[in-house]
C-alpha cells in the first residue's frame, strides 16, 4: 500500500516537473502581456524535435552521454527559442492593441500551422518517432520499496535547476526586475525607460527554453515524441498555471507538481471503470474547472482589486 503510494507520488513528481516547466512559459507571458499563448504547447513539441534532430543528424554514433545530453538540450532550446521569438515578432506583436479575441485566434492558427509544418516537413514525423533512451541503468530505490528510473531523476533534477535559475534571474537580474515592473504596470515601466518589447521577447525566450527542457524530458521519459504531443501537454500546463495562480512564477511550479500528483493519484486510486489512464485527462480538466469556480485566483494568486 505504502509502496504503491510512494511510487505514485514519485511518478507524479516527475510528471509534475514537466508540467511546471511548460506552465512557467504560460505564466510569464501572461503575467506580462495578459496573453494566453495557446501555441506554447507547440513550442514544447518543437523543443523535443530540436533535441531529437541533434541526436539523429549531428551527433556521431556512440557519443558519450555527458556530451550528447547537453548538446541535445542546446539544440532543442535553439529550435524552441527561434520559433517562439519569430512567433512573437510576426504573429503576436502586431496584435498587441487588438481586442483579446484576435491574439487567441492567432494562437490557434499558429498552433495548427506548427503541428502541420512538423508533420509534413520533418522526415518521418507523420508517425511517432522513437526518442533515444540514453539514460540507462537500474532504477534507484527511494525507500518504502519504491524506486524511480534514472531518466526520471535527471528530469526532476534538471527541472529543479531550471526553476531555481529562473527565480534567481527574475529576482536578481536587471532584466528580471524589468520583467517584474512591466508585469505590474506596463505604462509606468515604459516611462521608467524599460524597453517593453525586449521584456516581452525575453519572456517568450525564457518560456521557450524551459519548454524545450520539458520537451526533451518527455522524450527521455516516454521514449517517443510526435507532432501532436504539444496539444494536451499545453492544455495541462495551462491548467497547472491557472491552478497555481496565473502570472505567478512560484504558482506555476506549485501548480505543475500539484497537477502531476493529482493526475497520477486519480489514475491509481479512483476505483472501478472511471479509474485508469483512460480518464486521466478528464480528471485534470475537472480540477481546472474546480479551481476556477472556487479559487479563480489560483492557489498562490492574490485577488486583485478591481480598478473601477
Amino acid at each position: 500500500m505504502l509502496t504503491q503510494f510512494v511510487q505514485q507520488l514519485a511518478n507524479g513528481v516527475v510528471l509534475g516537473a514537466m508540467y511546471a516547466l511548460i506552465a512557467l512559459g504560460y505564466t510569464m507571458v501572461y503575467g506580462i502581456i495578459q496573453l494566453i499563448n495557446f501555441a506554447h504547447g507547440e513550442i514544447f513539441m518543437i523543443g523535443a524535435f530540436g533535441a531529437f534532430t541533434v541526436y539523429r543528424y549531428i551527433l556521431p554514433d556512440g557519443t558519450s552521454l555527458w556530451i550528447a545530453l547537453p548538446l541535445m538540450l542546446l539544440g532543442g532550446m535553439i529550435a524552441a527559442v527561434a520559433v517562439a521569438v519569430a512567433m512573437e515578432r510576426f504573429a503576436y506583436r502586431p496584435l498587441r492593441n487588438a481586442p483579446r479575441l484576435a491574439p487567441l485566434i492567432t494562437a490557434i492558427g499558429v498552433s495548427i500551422a506548427l503541428q502541420e509544418a512538423v508533420r509534413l516537413y520533418y522526415p518521418d514525423a507523420r508517425s511517432k518517432l522513437a526518442f533515444p533512451q540514453l539514460i540507462t541503468g537500474s532504477p534507484i530505490p527511494i525507500g518504502f520499496g519504491a524506486s524511480v528510473d534514472r531518466a526520471s531523476v535527471v528530469v526532476v533534477l534538471v527541472s529543479v535547476i531550471c526553476m531555481v535559475a529562473l527565480t534567481l534571474f527574475v529576482r536578481r537580474s536587471r532584466m528580471g526586475r524589468a520583467m517584474q515592473a512591466t508585469a505590474q504596470d506596463p505604462d509606468t515601466a515604459r516611462l521608467m525607460g524599460i524597453n517593453i518589447d525586449r521584456v516581452i521577447v525575453m519572456s517568450f525566450l525564457l518560456g521557450a527554453a524551459l519548454a524545450a527542457v520539458a520537451g526533451m524530458a518527455q522524450g527521455l521519459y516516454l521514449g517517443q515524441i510526435d507532432f501532436r504531443m504539444g496539444f494536451i501537454a499545453g492544455l495541462k500546463a495551462f491548467t497547472a498555471a491557472v491552478l497555481g495562480g496565473i502570472g505567478n512564477i512560484q504558482g506555476a511550479v506549485v501548480g505543475g507538481f500539484a497537477l502531476g500528483i493529482v493526475e497520477v493519484m486519480a489514475v491509481q486510486y479512483i476505483p472501478g471503470q472511471f479509474g485508469g489512464g483512460a480518464w486521466k485527462d478528464v480528471w485534470a480538466f475537472a480540477l481546472l474547472i474546480l479551481v476556477l469556480v472556487f479559487r479563480p485566483q489560483g492557489l498562490l494568486g492574490e485577488r486583485v482589486a478591481d480598478r473601477a
Binding site: Q34, I36, F38, A91, P94, L95, N97, A98, P99, R100, L101, A102, P103, L104, I105, T106, I108, G109, V110, S111, I112, A113, L114, Q115, E116, A117, L120, D187, L191, F231, I232, L235, F238, T239, V242, Q273, F274, G276, A278, W279, D281, V282, F285, A286, L288, I289, L292, V293, P296, D306, A308
Partner: protein, 569 residues
C-alpha cells in the same frame, strides 16, 4: 517599413506617368489592350491538348480563356460607356478604377494559364504563339489601365419602382446561384482558380463602380424580399444537380457546418464569448440522434419519431450547455476559451471511454455508431429519391431541404435575438462589462443564455447530422473541428449571418476543389487564420460595429498614448 516605401515610390511613378499621358490616350490604349486580349482568346495558347480546357483550338475559346473573354468584354463595354452620354447615369464616378481591376484580372488569368501550361506540359516550349500574344495583350491592357485617370468614389442612389428592384434582387441572386453551380461543375483546379480570380475581379470592378453598395442598399430596403428570395434560390440548388448526389452530399455537410457556425456566431459574435469546444454540442446532439435512431449499433432500443428526437437533443444539449456554462462563465473572458476547449476534450474522451470496458457501454467508444438509418420524417423516406416538380432529385436533396429549414430557423433566432433587448445587452457586455452590469444587466445570466442557446441550436443540428452522415465517431468532434467553426465565424465576419455562411462555404468547399493541396490543408488553414487576424480581423463581411471595435482600439490606444505622454510632461 521598407515595403510601404516601395509602394509609395511605385505610386509616385504611376502618378507622374498619369500626369503626362492624356486621359483620351490612356483610354484608347486600354481599349486596344482589352480588344487584343479578347481577340487572343480565339487563338490557340498551347501545343499540347492535355492542359485543362484544351487550349489548342483556334476560333473557339475554352477553359480559362472564357474568363479572359468575359472580363475583357466587360472592360470594353465600360470604356465605351465612359465616353457615351450614359456615363452620368451608369458610371457617375467614372469607370477607370473598374477597368483597372478588370485588366488586372485578365492579366492574372492569362499569366497563370501560360505559366501553368509551361509547368504542367513540361516547359514553356509548349506555349503556342497565341499564348504569348495573349500575355502581351494583357500586359498592354494592365499598363494602359494604370494610366487611366483616377475616378471619384461612385455613389448610386437610384430609387427604382419596387417591382424593378425586386427583379434586380431576383436577378442578382439567380446569377449568384448560377455562378456557384458553374464553379462546382469545374473539374480542374487550374480552371477553378482562374474562375475565382475572374469572379473576384468582376466583383471588385462592380464594387468600384458603386454597383455592389447600391445592390446591398436595395437588398436592405427590401429585406424581407431578399431573405425570402435567398432561401428560394438556395432551395433551387438541388434542381441544378438532378439525381447526382455528389455535390448535394457535400452541400448537406456544408449546411450542417454553416448552421452550427451561425449558432456559434450567437455565442462569439453577439455575446463575445470565445467558445473553443463548441463542436462538442454538435456531438451531443449527434449522439442523441444516433442513439435514438434505432441503429443496430445503438445501445438504446427506443426509436421515437424524429420530431421527438430533435426536441430531446435540444433539451439535453441545453442542459449540458447550462452545466458547462455555469462554472465557466463566471471566470475572465480569456480563460473561457481554454476552459471550453478543456470541456470539448472531456466530451471527446468521455465518448471514447463509454465503451463498456473503461466505462459503462453507451457509445461504443472509438468505434462510434455506424449504420444510422435514414430519416423517416413527415411521411417521407429520406433514403429514397423523390420526384419534385417533375424532376427526380438525388436522395440527399431530402436532407438538404431539411437542413435548409433548420438553417432558416437558426438565422431567425440569430437576427431576432440580435434585434431585441437581449441583443442590446450582449452588445453592451461586449463593449464594457462593468458598465453593463452597473446599467442593471445581469451579465452572468445573459452570457449563460447566449451559451445555452448556442448549445441548443448546435444540438438540433447534430440530430440531423447523425442521420445525414449515417455513421459517427468521437473523432468527428475533436478540437480541430471547433477551430474550424471558430474560423468560419471569424474569417467570414463576426456577428453577421452572411459572414458565417460565407466562411463555412469557403472552408468546406475550397479543400474539395483543391484536392491537390489536400495534404497541406491544415497548414494553409493555420497560416490563413494568422494572416486574417493580422490584416483583416473583422472578417470578410464585417459587422459595422465589429469593425469599429477592431479599429477603435488602435485609435484610442494612440490617443491614450498621447494623453499619457502629455500627462508625463
Amino acid at each position: 517599413m521598407s515595403g510601404s516605401g516601395v509602394t509609395t515610390a511605385r505610386r509616385r511613378l504611376i502618378e507622374r506617368a498619369r500626369g503626362r499621358v492624356p486621359a483620351t490616350t490612356a483610354r484608347a490604349a486600354a481599349l486596344l489592350g482589352a480588344v487584343l486580349s479578347l481577340a487572343s482568346t480565339f487563338l490557340a495558347w498551347s501545343y499540347g491538348s492535355a492542359f485543362p480546357g484544351n487550349l489548342t483550338i483556334y476560333g473557339y475559346p475554352g477553359g480559362a480563356q472564357v474568363y479572359v473573354l468575359v472580363l475583357a468584354l466587360v472592360a470594353i463595354v465600360l470604356l465605351l460607356l465612359e465616353v457615351s452620354p450614359l456615363r452620368r447615369v451608369l458610371a457617375p464616378g467614372g469607370a477607370g478604377g473598374a477597368v483597372r481591376v478588370l485588366a488586372s484580372g485578365v492579366f492574372l488569368v492569362t499569366a497563370f494559364t501560360v505559366l501553368a501550361i509551361g509547368v504542367e506540359l513540361g516547359g514553356l516550349i509548349n506555349v503556342e504563339w497565341g499564348g504569348w500574344a495573349a500575355l502581351l495583350a494583357a500586359a498592354v491592357f494592365v499598363v494602359a489601365g494604370r494610366l487611366l485617370p483616377d475616378d471619384r468614389p461612385a455613389v448610386w442612389s437610384y430609387r427604382l419602382p419596387d417591382w424593378v428592384e425586386f427583379l434586380i434582387i431576383a436577378l442578382v441572386l439567380g446569377l449568384a446561384l448560377a455562378a456557384f453551380v458553374e464553379a462546382l461543375a469545374i473539374p480542374e483546379w487550374e480552371i477553378f482558380l482562374c474562375f475565382l480570380v475572374a469572379l473576384g475581379g468582376a466583383l471588385t470592378a462592380a464594387w468600384r463602380l458603386g454597383l455592389v453598395s447600391w445592390i446591398s442598399e436595395v437588398g436592405t430596403r427590401h429585406r424581407g424580399v431578399t431573405v425570402t428570395a435567398a432561401f428560394l434560390v438556395a432551395a433551387a440548388f438541388p434542381f441544378t444537380q438532378g439525381s447526382d448526389n455528389h455535390w448535394l452530399n457535400v452541400m448537406v455537410n456544408v449546411g450542417i457546418f454553416a448552421t452550427t457556425a451561425i449558432g456559434l456566431n450567437i455565442v462569439v459574435g453577439l455575446a463575445g464569448l470565445l467558445d473553443l469546444g463548441y463542436v462538442a454540442f454538435l456531438g451531443v446532439g449527434a449522439y442523441v440522434g444516433a442513439l435514438l435512431s434505432g441503429a443496430a449499433a445503438s445501445t438504446i432500443g427506443w426509436n421515437p419519431p424524429f420530431a421527438v428526437t430533435v426536441v430531446i437533443g435540444a433539451v439535453i444539449t441545453a442542459i449540458v450547455g447550462v452545466l458547462i456554462g455555469t462554472p465557466t462563465l463566471r471566470v475572465r473572458g480569456d480563460y473561457l476559451a481554454i476552459v471550453t476547449l478543456g470541456f470539448g476534450e472531456i466530451f471527446r474522451i468521455t465518448v471514447n471511454n463509454l465503451d463498456g470496458s473503461t466505462g459503462p457501454q453507451v457509445t461504443n467508444g472509438p468505434n462510434g455508431i455506424p449504420g444510422i438509418p435514414d430519416l423517416k420524417f413527415l411521411g417521407i423516406d429520406f433514403g429514397q429519391s423523390h420526384t419534385v416538380f417533375g424532376m427526380n432529385l438525388g436522395y440527399f436533396a431530402n436532407y438538404f431541404f431539411l437542413e435548409l429549414v433548420l438553417m432558416a430557423f437558426v438565422i431567425l433566432v440569430f437576427s431576432r435575438m440580435n434585434n431585441s433587448r437581449l441583443g442590446r445587452a450582449w452588445l453592451a457586455i461586449r463593449e464594457d462589462e462593468v458598465a453593463a452590469q452597473a446599467a442593471g444587466i445581469n451579465t452572468f445570466r445573459l452570457k449563460l443564455l447566449a451559451f445555452a442557446l448556442g448549445a441548443t441550436l448546435a444540438g438540433m443540428a447534430g440530430t440531423i447530422q447523425a442521420h445525414a452522415i449515417s455513421s459517427i465517431t468521437p473523432d468527428s468532434y475533436q478540437f480541430l473541428n471547433s477551430a474550424f467553426l471558430v474560423a468560419a465565424v471569424v474569417l467570414g465576419g463576426m456577428g453577421t449571418v452572411t459572414g458565417a455562411l460565407l466562411g463555412s462555404v469557403v472552408l468546406l468547399l475550397l479543400p474539395e476543389k483543391f484536392r491537390f493541396f489536400q495534404d497541406n490543408k491544415l497548414l494553409i488553414f493555420g497560416v490563413t487564420l494568422v494572416l486574417v487576424m493580422r490584416f483583416r480581423p473583422e472578417g470578410v463581411i464585417a459587422n459595422k460595429r465589429r469593425k469599429a471595435e477592431f479599429h477603435e482600439e488602435e485609435i484610442s490606444e494612440e490617443l491614450g498614448r498621447e494623453a499619457r505622454a502629455e500627462g508625463a510632461r
